[in-house]
Symmetry: C2
Subunit: 172 residues, 2 copies
């Protein structure tokens, strides 16, 4: 027997329900198409791994969509809260000033919508694990050892070559 | 009873032993001290989590230590192989041309030393997990929920503030 049970948020009064939350992932923006494309790929990968129904990419400058466009698209899709993730390695001025300033402007037409700018990647502990994983993978490929996954960067073709070592390696 | 047993690499002929491997972590380099300091912190965190005995930071340009200095320091400490990790988000020209070119020059005085430039962070699958973790943490702090760890970016003071939401939130 399958009985429909409302989830908790359906039986809460409207003002106590968790707001519909959107995520905007913001990189610096570039005049190079490949650089901007990478943000769209990162956004797709994040969307596939997360539960947010509304996820939009944005560029801080130099390319469209800008932050105002992405924010508006989130609201048009029903977001009552917009969480902005700065796709940056370090918490510099773009994180502390430029992006909050641009989101403040983007949010002005929508005073009811909550927003928040999160920390960037920064020194998140997993960053060191990624460095270790990259080294293990590239060394593994270079040494001809079996590696678990393919790599998103050069697809294990062309990169991962040990150079130098004149007197160490045997001629092939 | 505790008997000394040679590890496998000690009983292998010299030319078959795994080479002493060093890691150089290279960021872009900046005129801002805080930006360069972040690389040193990242290097320390990586050193604490990894098994490499020799780990050096380097800046691609604009600041010391440069790649040649870091490479030489690795060799002076006994490295027979130097793995260079580009501390960059995307595999652009710095990864494909500039850094390999600088490592080629840095390695010229040491023809016996092997070297390899790995993939940068790129679209490593864990990057999306970090985005999700940042969002969960910052939203948790902003909503006053208990969060597991403190944050390396703003130490949960000052940041993580929800703004806007004029008609949603109760006055505090």
């Amino acid at each position: 027997m399958c009985t429909f049970m409302p989830v908790e948020s359906d039986i809460l009064p409207t003002n106590l329900r968790p707001p519909v939350t959107a995520v905007v992932i913001v990189d610096h923006g570039s005049r190079k198409t490949a650089s901007n494309q990478m943000l769209y790929q990162a956004t797709k990968i994040f969307a596939a791994q997360s539960d947010y129904a509304i996820i939009e990419p944005a560029h801080m400058e130099l390319a469209q969509p800008d932050i105002a466009t992405a924010f508006r698209k989130c609201v048009e899709q029903g977001a009552a809260r917009v969480v902005v993730f700065p796709y940056f390695l370090s918490p510099g001025r773009h994180w502390s000033e430029d992006i909050p300033g641009l989101v403040t402007e983007a949010a002005k037409p929508f005073p009811d919508v909550e927003w928040l700018v999160t920390a960037p990647f920064g020194l998140h502990p997993e960053m060191a694990s990624i460095i270790n994983d990259r080294i293990q993978h590239c060394l593994g490929v270079a040494e001809g050892r079996p590696v678990a996954d393919s790599c998103d960067v050069c697809d294990d073709t062309g990169g991962c070559e040990l150079r130098g070592g004149a007197n160490r390696r045997q001629p092939r």
